[in-house]
Structures are given as structure tokens and as C-alpha cells.
């Protein structure tokens, strides 16, 4: 067969691959591929091409497409080839169509008929090929065409076919659940199939079904438990064993299903306890797959109704994972831990140092997993440390997707558990500074809202202090280059509202700073809009306070620039600012009341304050206003329209002319309001407040005081406390609810301030240089409160500061012991070849010319060394299979044990060590010799590896 011979492909194909392999640039490769495409185009469409040649061209076409080039011209040939009688060609055709086409491609319809025919074939391999294609190509519309046959195949004699039929049906279910809903019982039936493989296949769709609705399958709990028991007790044929574990993949699937079924169901859980305990006890934790099952058991235990014994076993297993040297196992350990702490939070404490090690590990995957764990175990007692860590990490990474995720998690945690407002603002500043453009715009508004609302109405001093500190911190930060836009908006807003509130900074200082911001961000209209509105506020507060306004020259030039801006929004703001500058203090006080952002503004939608003006106009002979509905002709149009709507819903196509465009006359909304809301880039409540205030009040100034404008905050989420929404009730009652919430937050914050003191001490201690105590402190601040009652309750946080030392000491001792055992382990020879380490040697092998290496090998052949390359069946040469089992747990690398590193590095079969005594002998013949033969053959064919890919001929597993 092809693979044994000269790769079974023609010289042309070899040349193609050779030349692509030797390409020095992408352009060169593209040129070669384009030439190949031209060749294939002519050859494929030529009627004289023999069939077996066609097959090769199709494969070359697949190769071309894999390299990213368009091969659509050949799709039809792939379709044609599926019709062929010859199995080889048919299979190639099926392979090509499954790779080329998506299930909605127009050509699919040409294949359905062939698939139907092939599903009925009495050759099971043809049926299998067709089922493969069915899984990939059949869409919702074509399911009915093949469904009867697929269902029939569920009872096929050959288990391989039954298995594939189950999978195909599962695929149909995924694609269009409705189309096979009447056949779902078949999956249950297949659970009792004689063949364990088919039963295992049936678990996949059942898993999906149970994920959606576990209640409908509670009756199967006993069956699943029984199956699992039989599997675990090795009642399946030996051929299902994998690395001495009985059918591990079936076990894993079953455990996943049991986890779903037992979740929150005490009765079902109780049926599973025994078998879970058995499996966990029996699990072979030296092999990869054994650990996979163990991990799955932990996941299952953590989702079942809690059972102390099992939880204990799970905790033990987790500690084994976490102590392992293998990153994979530590990763699983962290993951398992984050599942288990939901049930028994106290177990995190024993693993604090391991968790911190993982947090500082260079492996990014592990780090991210650990942050997920920390995120899940955050409470008010450790929020500061955790958010601090997360922000540090966020700053260090460049992946925007993950940065966004971490930033929003920081915000979420800070909002939920913040011990103090000061801390919250500082944390938010950091998040904004480094990821401001990535977080949700809502977060910025929440921050502004918090600063505006403060602690509560009773404690004005604290509010003022909060605002002053916010202003202070912003004045410091705003000088820095490249601040995100969202953050600058917050800064401008806060400076505008509170920049001069405490009298510490003069108006000209703040306005100067604001001008700097606007000038530094000329391209960002939103920031400029915020800046100019802030200027307006500062000036009007000055005017209102009766002080003389001194507009700085740079502000003046900024305003003038804005007056001519292309953005109408900026223009309007600039004109408003100009208008305000010319008003007297009384009027300004009315328009821009000090610190009024939290006040509700009532909008008189009927514009009743204009009644007098209208009345006067009508008396002077103006036409009275006719409502839209009463206008002549209008009603017809609207009737027509509704009829139209009705018709268009019944008919797909419309043949009538379109109706006339309907003038949109808004009679209810004051025109100014409408225009200004349209200008609002982000329809966020507090932002609207910002703009609407001047915009609306400007005209009403002439109408002095006839209406009271209020910002509508209906349905806006409240910042602090539980997520409640301020109700659209009259302002008095909503004030009450605010008060209640504020009381709640205050009560919280009392408790939190205690933890604050503890944290100060943590910070001071942090200065020390030594690593291990620092780690311990980190551990203590992360986990210290865990063993106590939930930190969210105010009383608990007081206890946190003291009792952390004994526990961390203990774990230090454990930590000290751990490296010892590890080093003992490394000095031992591996007890079992099954846990050989990673094949690191092969990847680190020097990239010299492989042929030189091979020559060296040939010389060695004559050498009377124990590693004779041709030694048939000699343990040294043939046990490369041990590499398969290399999912390292904790054993040293090959090189350490290797008595002849030169030989190994030289021939590229790095995994072969003389010390290995093969556990799994394979009667596979001398692989070095084979490799040499293969190499010689390749050279004969003229494919020489270029300098660019020297290791082309290296054995994969070596």
C-alpha cells in the first residue's frame, strides 16, 4: 500500500511538496501554488484524464486548499468522484467534499442521492464512508432524505456501523433538534447495545440531552451507575483497556453524566456515592488517564449533594495534584479546587502556598486558571489583595481579549466587595488607566455616579472627602500620556463637578488643566465635549459664587475653536458656554445649581409653560396646532400603512408602490430636548444628565423658573449594595429607598473598615525582601479568613488579622518538606516506564543536517555498542513505545538517565534510552533501519530536505 511504498504519490506531487518546502518566502510559495492550481485546472477538466490520476489531482487540490488558496473550481470534481463505483475513488471523493463544502453549499444537493444509495450498500465500509459524509454535510433541509436509512442502520450487524449511525443521529440532533425529536428514545435503546463501543457512543448524545433537561433522565441514574460499576470492575473485554485502565473514556463520559444527574438531587446522589468512592480508591494516579478519571470524579463529587467522605477523598486527590511537578496536574488541581471550594470553602486553606506558587508560575495557562480560582473565592476580607494582583497581571499582558475579561472581573469584584470608597476609586483608577478602552462604558458611569452620590446623605463630610481625594488623584494622573478615552471622560466630569468644590484649587488652575486635556486629545470629540462642559460648570460655579470670571487665553482659544467645530455637538456646547459667560449670577445659579447631579429633574413633556405664549400667538392670528391624527389625509395614510403591514406579513413579495414617506412630527417631546438627546453619543443616564442640564435649561432661563427640570433615572441600576433599580415613583419615596440602601452599604462598610486596618499592616510587612514570608503573607491575606465564617458578614473580618500565623507556619513546614520528597524522587531511577518524562530531547535536538546524522548512525552500526541500529527486537531500539507513555508526572528527563547521549542526539531518536526496559514490547521490527530505508528512498526520489527544514525526516515519535 501507498504508505509502505514510496509514499504512494507521484513524482509530481513529491516535487510540489519539495519546492514548497524549499520556499524562502510566502510570495515564492504563492507563485508555486498558483502554477499548481493552473495545472490542476486544466487536468481536472480534461476528459481524457484517467480516474486514478483524478484521485491524485483531487488530493493535490486538497493540499493546495490547506495552504490557504482557493480551490473552489475543483469542488464539482470532488462531487463527481463520490458517484464513482470504485471504493478508493469514492472515499477520496467523500473526503474531499467533507473538507471542501459546508453543509449549506449548493453542491450538496448533488451528493444526497449518492449518500442515500451508499447508506443502503451491503458493504459496510461504503456505509461507513457515507455515514462520515452524513455527519458533516447533511443540513436541516436534507435530514429527512437520509433519516430513515440512518435509523435503520442503528440496527446494523456491524458494531462500527451502529456506532457511526448513533453519532450521525446525534449530529442531526445538534443541527436541528426538532427534526429528530421523535427518535430520541433510540439513544436510550442503544445504551443496552451488546457492544460496549456503541453504548459508549450513545453516551455522547445522552450527555447533550441531559445537559438540557436532567429531570427527564433521572430514571437512568441506576442504569448509568450499573454501567459504570461494570466498567470499573473490568467486565468489559480487554480490548477496551487503555494503559491498564478499563475503558477510561467511557468512565469519563459516565462521570460527567452522573454529575449532571446528581446535581442538587440528594436521592440520585446517594445512589452514586459507593461507586464514586470505589473508583477514586482504585484510580491509578501514576498514569495520565488515571488522573483524568480522578479529576472527573472530583468534578462529579463537587456537583453532587455533599458527602463528607467523598469530599475528603476529593480533597486528598486535589492535594496530590497540586503537589505534583506536572503543570498539567497542577492545572487540573486548581480547577478542581475552584469547583470544590463552593461546597467546602475550608479546603482552600491547606493549599494556599500551592495556589500562590501557581499564581507566580511562568505558565500562563496555569496563571489564568489560578486567577479564576481567586475570582471565585473573593470576599470582602481578601478583595484588596486579589484585585491588586489581578490589576498587576492585567497590566503585564497584551492579549486584549483576556485583558478585557480581567478588567471587568476587577470591576465586578471591586463593586461587590469594596471595603471603602477610597479604595474603590483607586482600584478603578488603575483599571481605567490600563484598560479603560476595554471595559464596558457602564463602568465609567458607575464610577461617576459613586463619586456623585457618595456614601449617603447623612455623611456629607465623608462625601466631600471622597470627592476631594478623587479630584486630587485625577489631577495627578491626568498629566500622563495615553490615558484611555473613557478614563479622561471620568476625569473631566469629576473635575468639572468637584474641581473647585473644596476651595483647594483655583478655578483657573482647574480650567487650565481641562484645556490641556482637550488640546492633548484633539481627535477625540467625546473627551473634548466632556472637557468643555466641565469648563462650563467651573465658570458657572464661579459666576454663581459672585467671583469675577477670568477666562484664560488658552481657554478662550479653545472655545473659539469649538465654535467653529465640525461637530455640532461641540459647537452647541461652546455656544452654550459663551452664553453662560454673559449671564448674571442669579440666572446662572438657576441653570447650573451647585452639586445637583444627583437631583431628579422633572421634564414637563406637555410644555405647559409655553401655554401663555401659544395663547398669545393664537390671539394674534396664528394658526392653531392640529394634532397629527386629526389632520386631513393623514388618517388615510396611516390606515393604508396598517393594512400594508398586514399584507406584507402574509405575502413574501410586495408589488404595490411604497407609501409616501411619513413626516415624523413629535408633538410630545420638546424639540430642544430631542436634538440634544440625539447628540448624546452614549445613552447613559449620568452622561445625559451632564449634557441635558445646560441644553435644556438654556431656553428655560428666559422663562425663568417656570418649570423644574429633573433627570429621569427610572430603571437605572443602583451603584452600591444589591442590584436594585430605582423605581419610577415620585421623588419622595425613591429618596426613602435610597436611604435604606445607603444604610445597608454603611453597615457593610463598618465591617469592612476593620479589614482595612489589617491590610495596612499587610502592606507594611510587604516591604520585606524575603520571598517566602512574603508569599506566606500573601497566602494569609488570601486565605486567612477562609476558615472563619463567611467574610461578607461584618463581624468576621475582625478575627482575620490574628490567627493566620499558625496555619501559614504549618504550611511552610509542609512546603519545606515538599522539595525534599521531590528531590528524592528525581534521584531515583524511574520505577515504572509508564511515566517517562516529556520528549524534550527531540525538540531540543540540534538542527544539523539530518543526513550527516544518519551517516553517523551508519558508522555506529559497525560499532559493537549495545545500541545497534539494526538490532531486531533489541530492547534498546524498539521500545520507543515508552515514549507514548511520556505524559510526565514527576520523573526526570531522558537525558539524565541516558548513558549515551551522543548517540541519541545524533540520530534524533531522542527518546530511546538504554536504561529503558520496555514494558510494552512491540513486534515492530527495527525502526532505525526502516527510517534509514525510508530516507534512502526519499533521496532516490529526489526530495532533499532544504536547510530550512532540516528535520523533515526525523521520526515523529523520536
Amino acid at each position: 500500500m501507498g504508505s509502505q511504498g514510496g509514499f504512494g504519490q507521484s513524482k509530481e506531487f513529491l516535487d510540489l511538496i519539495k519546492s514548497i518546502g524549499e520556499c524562502r518566502s510566502k510570495a515564492e510559495e504563492d507563485r508555486i501554488v498558483l502554477r499548481e492550481i493552473e495545472t490542476l485546472k486544466t487536468r481536472l477538466s480534461s476528459p481524457n484524464t484517467p480516474k486514478f490520476k483524478l484521485k491524485e489531482y483531487l488530493i493535490r487540490l486538497l493540499y493546495v486548499e490547506m495552504l490557504g488558496h482557493d480551490a473552489s473550481f475543483g469542488y464539482i470534481h470532488a462531487v463527481k468522484m463520490t458517484h464513482d463505483e470504485n471504493l478508493l475513488l469514492k472515499r477520496t471523493g467523500y473526503l474531499a467534499v467533507t473538507l471542501f463544502l459546508n453543509e449549506d453549499h449548493d453542491l450538496i444537493i448533488l451528493i444526497v442521492n449518492t449518500i442515500q444509495k451508499d447508506l443502503k450498500s451491503d458493504n459496510y465500509l461504503v456505509v461507513s464512508a457515507a455515514l462520515n459524509a452524513v455527519c458533516r454535510l447533511i443540513n436541516e433541509e436534507t435530514i429527512p432524505a437520509v433519516l430513515p436509512q440512518v435509523v435503520e442502520l442503528l440496527g446494523h450487524q456491524k458494531e462500527a456501523v451502529r456506532k457511526k449511525a448513533v453519532m450521525a443521529l446525534h449530529r442531526f440532533y445538534q443541527r436541528a433538534p426538532g427534526s429528530v425529536s421523535h427518535l430520541i428514545s433510540n439513544f436510550r435503546k442503544r445504551l443496552c447495545d451488546n457492544d460496549p463501543g456503541v453504548m459508549g457512543a450513545a453516551l455522547c448524545p445522552l450527555f447533550d440531552l441531559i445537559t438540557i433537561d436532567a429531570d427527564a433522565y433521572k430514571d437512568l441514574v441506576i442504569s448509568f451507575v450499573n454501567i459504570l460499576k461494570q466498567v470499573a470492575e473490568r467486565r468489559l473485554p480487554k480490548s477496551y483497556d487503555y494503559h491498564q485502565m478499563p475503558a477510561p473514556f467511557i468512565q469519563i463520559k459516565l462521570l460527567k453524566i452522573l454529575a449532571l444527574l446528581g446535581s442538587g438531587d440528594k436521592k440520585a446522589s446517594e445512589q452514586m456515592y459507593t461507586i464514586l468512592g470505589d473508583i477514586m480508591r482504585k484510580c491509578d494516579s501514576t498514569s495520565n488517564i488515571g488522573n483524568a478519571i480522578l479529576y472527573e470524579c472530583i468534578c462529579c463529587v463537587s456537583s453532587l449533594h455533599p458527602n463528607p467522605k467523598l469530599l475528603e477523598a476529593a480533597a486528598d486527590a486535589i492535594s496530590k495534584f497540586l503537589k505534583s511537578d506536572s503543570h498539567n496536574l497542577r492545572y487540573l488541581g486548581i480547577d478542581a479546587l475552584s469547583r470544590l471550594i463552593k461546597i467546602s470553602p475550608e479546603i482552600a486553606e491547606q493549599h494556599q502556598l500551592a495556589v500562590i506558587d501557581c499564581l507566580e508560575d511562568p505558565d500562563d495557562t496555569l496563571k489564568r486558571k489560578t486567577f479564576e480560582l481567586l475570582y471565585k473565592m473573593t470576599k470582602s476580607s481578601n478583595v484588596e489583595v486579589i484585585v491588586d494582583r489581578m490589576i498587576q497581571y492585567m497590566i503585564s499582558i497584551s492579549d486584549n481579549h483576556y485583558k478585557t475579561e480581567i478588567a471587568s472581573r476587577c470591576v465586578e469584584l471591586a463593586e461587590q466587595f469594596a471595603p471603602s470608597n477610597q479604595w474603590f476609586i483607586q482600584a478603578m483608577n488603575k483599571v481605567f488607566e490600563h484598560a479603560g478602552d476595554l471595559v464596558n462604558a457602564k463602568v465609567a458611569h458607575n464610577l461617576m455616579r459613586l463619586i456623585a452620590e457618595g456614601f449617603g446623605e447623612d455623611d456629607d463630610a465623608a462625601d466631600t472627602q471622597l470627592r476631594s481625594s478623587a479630584v486630587e488623584s485625577y489631577l495627578q494622573i491626568m498629566g500622563e500620556p495615553k490615558l484611555p478615552s473613557a478614563f479622561l471622560q471620568v476625569i473631566c466630569w469629576v473635575l468639572g463637578e468637584y474641581g473647585t468644590a473644596d476651595g483647594k484649587y483655583s478655578a483657573s488652575y482647574i480650567t487650565g488643566k481641562l484645556c490641556d486635556v482637550a488640546e492633548a486629545h484633539l481627535a477625540d470629540d467625546t473627551v473634548k465635549a466632556y472637557a468643555i462642559t466641565a469648563l462650563m460648570k467651573i465658570y458657572s460655579f464661579e459666576i454663581a459664587a459672585g467671583r469675577a470670571v477670568d477666562v484664560l487665553p488658552e481657554c478662550q482659544s479653545l472655545i473659539e475653536e469649538m465654535l467653529a467645530s465640525h461637530s455640532t455637538d461641540l459647537q452647541q456646547r461652546a455656544y452654550e458656554l459663551q452664553a453662560i459667560l454673559n449671564l448674571d449670577s442669579h440666572a446662572v445659579k438657576k441653570i447650573m445649581p451647585m452639586d445637583s447631579t444627583c437631583d431628579d429633574i422633572e421634564i414637563d413633556k406637555s410644555l405647559s409653560f409655553l401655554n401663555g405664549y401659544v395663547q398669545q400667538a393664537v390671539e394674534n392670528g396664528a394658526q392653531p396646532y392640529i394634532p397629527e391624527s386629526e389632520r386631513s389625509g393623514m388618517s388615510n395614510i396611516s390606515n393604508f400603512k396598517s393594512q400594508e403591514d398586514h399584507e406584507s406579513s402574509t405575502h413574501a413579495l410586495r408589488f404595490e408602490a411604497y407609501e409616501l414617506p411619513k413626516p415624523v412630527l413629535s408633538q410630545n417631546v420638546p424639540p430642544i430636548l430631542a436634538s440634544s438627546t440625539e447628540l448624546v453619543p452614549v445613552p447613559e443616564p449620568s452622561y445625559v444628565a451632564d449634557i441635558l442640564q445646560p441644553a435644556i435649561s438654556a431656553p428655560s432661563a428666559s422663562d425663568a423658573g417656570s418649570s423644574e427640570l429633573r433627570l429621569r433615572l427610572d430603571g437605572v441600576q443602583r451603584k452600591w449594595g444589591k442590584p436594585t433599580y430605582s423605581s419610577p415613583t415620585p421623588s419622595t419615596s425613591s429618596n426613602d429607598t435610597v436611604k435604606i440602601q445607603n444604610e445597608a452599604t454603611q453597615r457593610d462598610s463598618v465591617g469592612m473598615s476593620n479589614s482595612k486596618t489589617r491590610d495596612v499592616s499587610y502592606d507594611s510587612r510587604k516591604q520585606q525582601v524575603e520571598i517566602s514570608p512574603e508569599k506566606q503573607k500573601l497566602a494569609a491575606s488570601l486565605f486567612g479568613g477562609v476558615s472563619k465564617s463567611d467574610g461578607r458578614q461584618p463581624s468576621s473580618s475582625q478575627k482575620i488579622s490574628k490567627p493566620q500565623n499558625p496555619t501559614s507556619d504549618k504550611s511552610r513546614a509542609a512546603k519545606a518538606a515538599a522539595p525534599d520528597t521531590a528531590s528524592v524522587k528525581t534521584s531515583q531511577p524511574p520505577p515504572d516506564l509508564l511515566d517517562l518524562s516529556e520528549p524534550s530531547v527531540s525538540s531540543s535536538a540540534p538542527s544539523v543536517d539530518p543526513f550527516k546524522q544518519f551517516e553517523g548512525l551508519l558508522d555506529l552500526k559497525q560499532d559493537p555498542t549495545p545500541v545497534s541500529a539494526g538490532g531486531v527486537g533489541s530492547t534498546e531500539a524498539s521500545d520507543f513505545m515508552s515514549l507514548f507513555t511520556d505524559m510526565s508526572l514527576n520523573v526526570p528527563t531522558d537525558g539524565v538517565l541516558d548513558p549515551m547521549p551522543n548517540v541519541i542526539n545524533g540520530n534524533g531518536l531522542g527518546g530511546i534510552t538504554a536504561a529503558d526496559h520496555s514494558v510494552q514490547q512491540l513486534n515492530k521490527g527495527p525502526n532505525l533501519k526502516q527510517a534509514l530505508e525510508k530516507d534512502a528512498r526519499v533521496r532516490q526520489m529526489g526530495v532533499t530536505p532544504s536547510g530550512q527544514n532540516p528535520s523533515l525526516f526525523k521520526d515523529l515519535l523520536g
Binding site: 490547506m66 488558496h69 478508493l88 480490548s239 495557562t365 516529556e838 521490527g925 521520526d955 515519535l957
Partner: protein, 163 residues
């Protein structure tokens, strides 16, 4: 469910691409490139798992492993177990090794249709179908035998009864 299987060499050149949800060619190339970038940035001796939710959506991870010059990559969601996927990859590579006797990169380049055949016996429609490499080898040998037979007796394959 398994979302895809990719084999590429250490220069990022794809050797086998198989997605179980259709991806257009350009998207495939983009994904291969991004995955290659991620894998290159991974240090040695770290875990074999990477979260790729930015490429494939929430909760999607990949398991990768290098064999000589090749990266093997399995992409899957949270209905699969990471370690088990690593072992499944092992099964796949073992099977390749048995079918090609000492598999090397060139085998995969020249016979990627056969590699697809093997993969189809291991994973079908994104679900694990068979996890015993000897079973897979048997199935693949059956297919090869039949293909050979049908080669000699073109045009048809009548009475071959597989049961």
C-alpha cells in the same frame, strides 16, 4: 465536543486541518496562524493546555503536544476532559505510527488523505468514536484492503461481504 484537529509543523505550516464545524478557508488559515502564534510563545515544560476563548468562544480550550517537528493540536469545549484529550491525541499518534511504521512528517504530508481516514475512525462529527489504537488500525487496514481490491477489479466491488 471536539471543535477541530490541527497538525502543523514547527514553522507554522499546516499539515492537516480538520474542523468539525465548517470554517471557510480564510478563517482556517487565520486560526492556524493565531494558534501557531500562541504555541510559539509557550515556554517548554509548561502545561499542554491553552484557553482559546478569544478565538473560538467561551470555554474552548486546546491541548497541544509536539512530536519531533510537528505540533498536534486538539481544540474542544468543556464537555471534554483535558487530560483525556491528551491521551486521545496519544492514541491518534500511536495509530499513525502503527499505520505508517515510524511515522514522520513526510508521511503525513504525502498521505494526508490516509491520515484523515485514521482521524475519521477516532473522531466522528466532533465526538470520540474509538479510543483503541489497535481497533482503529484494524478498521483502516480493512479499508486499505478493500481499496486495493477494488483497484484491481475496477469497475465495481460486488460481492464483498464484510459481515
Amino acid at each position: 465536543m471536539i471543535r477541530g484537529v490541527i497538525i502543523m509543523n514547527d514553522q507554522g505550516k499546516p499539515r492537516l486541518i480538520r474542523f468539525y464545524e465548517f470554517q471557510p478557508v480564510e478563517k482556517q488559515q487565520e486560526l492556524v496562524r493565531s494558534i501557531y502564534k500562541i504555541l510559539c510563545s509557550r515556554a517548554e515544560n509548561v502545561s499542554n493546555f491553552v484557553k482559546v476563548d478569544s478565538l473560538f468562544g467561551p470555554d474552548v480550550r486546546l491541548v497541544y503536544k509536539t512530536f519531533a517537528t510537528l505540533y498536534f493540536v486538539f481544540i474542544f469545549d468543556n464537555s471534554e476532559n483535558e487530560l483525556a484529550m491528551l491521551d486521545l491525541m496519544q492514541v491518534f499518534v500511536e495509530t499513525l505510527d502503527k499505520c505508517f511504521s515510524n511515522v514522520c512528517e513526510l508521511d503525513i504530508v504525502f498521505n494526508f488523505n490516509k491520515v484523515h481516514t485514521i482521524l475519521d475512525e477516532v473522531i466522528l462529527g466532533g465526538q470520540v468514536l474509538e479510543t483503541s489504537s489497535s481497533e482503529v488500525v484494524m478498521a483502516v487496514e480493512d479499508i486499505s484492503k478493500l481499496e486495493k481490491n477494488s483497484n484491481s477489479i475496477i469497475p465495481s466491488i460486488p460481492g464483498w461481504q464484510g459481515r
